[in-house]
């Protein structure tokens, strides 16, 4: 008859409440020598694991929509600040609980309650949480967890805008060059997401911040001493400039002599990876129908070198689009004439 007295499994709502109570406890009692602390931490880890199982299901069962919705509404219930508590307590959790908590936060960003993304409403009112997540990149033990949460949060357009307009954008140029590859590549993935996901916001942002942004992009990334940074940066630059919604920024970029020179240096690198990506941007300078005289001047001066470079220049795989682009660039350069000196 033992089964009769087994405690009923907690509902999703009760699970969130229990988690919250423990988070508050951990938050308050962190520095005290509370004898029960280890026990409470173990309990907290277990609860976070259970939240994850509800949201993701297990190898035996699929997640249930109703349970997910209950969990989400309790999690973001007014005046409870569960997300803030969880983010703040993350450094205190062990590795497994950190991973589980990260997956929970990531998943909650996509959960709808009455067809609303209520996570977005919460973040809207608590934007400073983004500051915490971003500065995680400076902490080896937190970077990947906070980084993953951050990428999920900037799925919401207003949150992405907040990050774009913050001072943190300048810091990203440093984060993506940190020594640890797993961290720097995570920062780069976030940076890329910020600059490509929400088209209208990005277009507006780039125009408004054109001067400092591209000055930093050129000097810190495209001219970095790290091969990996240069390669990733030139790829990202191509993605940004070739996006139709950024055409105004693109037109501005391709009229600058300094930009052209940087791209031509990348074209001359030994790395095929960098060369091919640099070509994607270089072709825009050539295709511009209103080339300023100084751009024409540089292209004409380097005409022979460029044509020689393009002779045996192609990607590993057959690529019709690339061949067509290259043919057009070659023709365009061949047709360029130096400005004739006026007859005296």
């Amino acid at each position: 008859m033992k089964g009769l007295f087994k405690s009923k499994p907690k509902t999703p709502t009760e699970l969130v409440r229990a988690t919250r109570e423990l988070l508050v406890y951990v938050d308050l009692h962190w520095n005290s020598h509370e004898p029960k602390r280890a026990e409470k931490m173990a309990e907290l880890s277990k609860l976070i694991r259970e939240l994850k199982l509800i949201l993701y299901g297990s190898s035996e069962s699929e997640p249930v929509a109703e349970a997910c919705a209950q969990l989400t509404s309790e999690f973001f219930k007014e005046n409870t600040n569960t997300l803030r508590l969880l983010i703040n307590c993350l450094p205190k959790l062990d590795l497994e609980a950190k991973k589980d908590a990260t997956q929970v936060v990531a998943n909650l960003q996509r959960q709808q309650v009455h067809s609303r993304l209520i996570a977005s409403d919460y973040l809207e009112a608590n934007k400073d949480l983004m500051d915490t997540l971003i500065t995680g990149y400076d902490h080896v033990d937190l970077a990947l967890h906070y980084g993953h949460m951050l990428r999920e949060c900037i799925r919401h357009q207003s949150i992405a805008r907040y990050v774009l307009e913050s001072e943190h954008m300048k810091e990203f140029f440093r984060y993506i060059q940190l020594d640890h590859f797993d961290i720097s590549s995570d920062a780069l993935a976030t940076f890329k997401e910020l600059l490509t996901r929400h088209k209208s916001t990005v277009a507006e942002y780039l125009l408004k911040n054109y001067d400092w942004f591209f000055a930093d992009f050129n000097s810190k990334l495209l001219q970095s001493s790290s091969y990996f940074t240069r390669r990733q940066a030139v790829k990202l630059l191509g993605d940004i400039l070739l996006d139709r919604s950024n055409s105004a920024t693109m037109m501005k970029y391709v009229t600058s002599k300094d930009n052209l020179m940087i791209l031509m240096n990348l074209l001359r690198e030994n790395s095929r990876g960098i060369k091919l990506e640099a070509f994607q941007v270089f072709k825009l300078f050539v295709a511009n129908q209103n080339k300023p005289p100084e751009i024409i001047g540089i292209l004409v001066t380097n005409k022979d070198k460029l044509l020689r470079l393009f002779q045996d220049f192609k990607p590993d795989k057959e690529d019709e689009q690339f061949d067509a682009d290259k043919a057009q660039v070659v023709n365009e350069i061949k047709a360029l004439e130096p400005k004739k000196a006026a007859p005296s």
Binding site: A38, M41, Y56, S58, S59, E60, P91, K92, L93, D94, L95, E96, K99, Q103, V140, D141, L144, D179, H180, F181, D182, S184, S185, D186, A189, S226, Y227, F228, R231, Q232, K235, S271, R272, G273, D316
Partner: protein
């Protein structure tokens, strides 16, 4: 309860002294090396980024998974950093190399059953952990089961870029579409629907046969033929004359994994409860039985490179 990850491995290539090559894959080479400041022997996987066309996102995910892993049967990355055009992933050094290595050197016809049970149990514990965290390994095979000098067993490599400690089979088929498909589940070959954790269970079953025979079923055939045989023939099993030496529970385990319909294969968690694993012994047993008298890994690697 901040985890004390203890040692911080340096992220400067100058802090490592590279010794001999101990493995290679399509776009990576693995070396034995010394981490000078910590005075610790490590394995370093050096990936040539120029050869990894545009799958840098895939590499990021693989490396991140490896650095967040926390399980005795999985190889965790100590750290990773870019060095010129390559990416270095620093990992624990598994002194005895892979099971494929060990078989090729000393057990060409496969291992004894208690050895197989011990190896497979350790691998399965790794799969339970990975699946619990939503990862599919995608490349379970003897070449990715690494053994340390004390008999500890770890599953390596998350399948994207290269195969640690693996020469031979994959090398020969480098120019075909995906390497040898011997371990690949039918649903992965068909590419009709997405596949899930159950694909690893199929590969696990093939790996069981590999450890029992010294090679995977169909391994002598060209890749296209393997595809057809996997899709059209009955699943391979332990039913040849030479397999009489194996127990009924081993045959049942293989049969449970190698079912064509992925839904009918057990989960890794369930499989771990299979009676076959009662035959499993300790790591120490592995060290005493299969590792005794093997020559050092670097030397074996050189010999294998000549022969396979």
């Amino acid at each position: 309860m901040e985890q004390l990850s203890g040692k911080r491995f340096p992220t400067n290539p100058k802090d490592y002294k590279i010794y001999e090559e101990v493995g290679e894959g399509v776009s990576a080479t693995v070396y034995r090396a010394l981490c000078i400041p910590l005075n610790e022997i490590v394995a370093i996987k050096v990936l040539d980024l120029e050869k990894c066309n545009n799958d840098l996102d895939g590499i990021r995910r693989e490396v991140q998974t490896m650095s967040l892993i926390n399980h005795p049967n999985l190889v965790r990355a100590h750290c990773s950093f870019a060095a010129d055009q390559s990416l270095w992933v620093v990992m624990p050094y598994m002194a005895e190399g892979s099971c494929l290595h060990i078989m090729k050197t000393a057990y060409p016809d496969g291992f004894e059953e208690p050895v197989i049970a011990t190896l497979l149990r350790e691998v399965l514990k790794a799969l339970v952990y990975l699946h619990g965290h939503g990862h599919i390994h995608r490349d379970v095979k003897a070449g990715n089961i690494l053994v340390d000098i004390n008999g500890a067993v770890k599953l390596a490599d998350f399948g994207v870029s290269a195969c640690m400690f693996d020469t031979g089979d994959r090398q020969r088929s480098r120019n075909t579409f995906v390497g040898t498909p011997c371990w690949m589940a039918p649903e992965v070959m068909q590419q009709l629907h997405g596949y899930d954790f159950k694909a690893d269970i199929w590969s696990f079953g093939i790996t069981a046969l590999e450890l029992a025979h010294g090679h995977a079923p169909f391994s002598k055939y060209p890749p296209m033929k393997v595809l057809l045989m996997t899709l059209q023939n009955a699943p391979p099993g332990l039913d040849y004359e030479r397999d009489k030496r194996f127990s009924k529970s081993f045959k049942e385990l293989v049969g449970a994994c190698l079912v064509k319909d992925p839904k009918k294969r057990p989960s890794s968690e369930k499989l771990l409860k299979h009676p076959f694993f009662k035959h499993a012994r300790t790591n120490d047993y592995l060290a005493r039985t299969i590792l005794d008298g093997l020559s050092p890994l670097g030397q074996r690697f050189r010999v294998l490179k000549v022969w396979f």
